[in-house]
Amino acid sequence: GESVGLHLPTLSVQEGDNSIINCAYSNSASDYFIWYKQESGKGPQFIIDIRSNMDKRQGQRVTVLLNKTVKHLSLQIAATQPGDSAVYFCAEGLNNDMRFGAGTRLTVKP
């Protein structure tokens, strides 16, 4: 499943499928990009980050892709699990100032 972040705030995927959450960031000068996960009733939790001089970074089951040409960031989650259900935020950082995007709610269906 795939979302366009700001325009489709909800993404629903089947357990075991791959998820792609997209984000359009605003400041072409931002030098750091981060994905956070927020579960219900909790604060945002850091997932993965990427510097502006990279275009891809992989973690455990997650991959972040950065396309600076179109100011686009995506988070790919492999083999999505029920525990991945949450709101996902992209954030951009510059000069010690981090700004969050609008968020996308990911729902995983069993």
């Binding site: 981060i34 009733g41 604060g43 945002p44 010690n96 609008a102």
Partner: protein
């Protein structure tokens, strides 16, 4: 053991009252933040302190006043509460120039 702890978790109060939210971190971080999350889940930075010095002060009404007695604490005082102040307020901490912040679990403020 909680890394970033906020109190209280819930706060219900009447318009016009003054209230405070406390935040403490035991991670040794040098920078602390306050974010406001509205009903649409949008997270907006309010303030940032580095080693007790204010470094980010967004266009927040001056009814909101942060206070950092030491680098492990950042409290938020709100005067003359308004209905529009109802939101979840998150404290976070991190190292300056490192954006992997650790967030608290939030304080849900409801102004009635």
């Amino acid at each position: 053991d909680t890394a970033v702890s906020q109190t209280p978790k819930y706060l219900v109060t009447q318009m016009g009252n003054d209230k405070s939210i406390k935040c403490e971190q035991n991670l040794g971080h040098d920078t602390m933040y306050w974010y406001k999350q509205d009903s649409k889940k949008f997270l907006k930075i309010m303030f940032s302190y580095n080693n007790k010095e204010l470094i980010i002060n967004e266009t927040v009404p001056n009814r909101f006043s942060p206070k950092s007695p030491d680098k492990a604490h950042l409290n938020l005082h709100i005067n003359s509460l308004e209905l529009g102040d109802s939101a979840v307020y998150f404290c976070a901490s991190g190292y300056l120039a490192n954006y992997g912040y650790t967030f608290g679990s939030g304080t849900r403020l409801t102004v009635v």
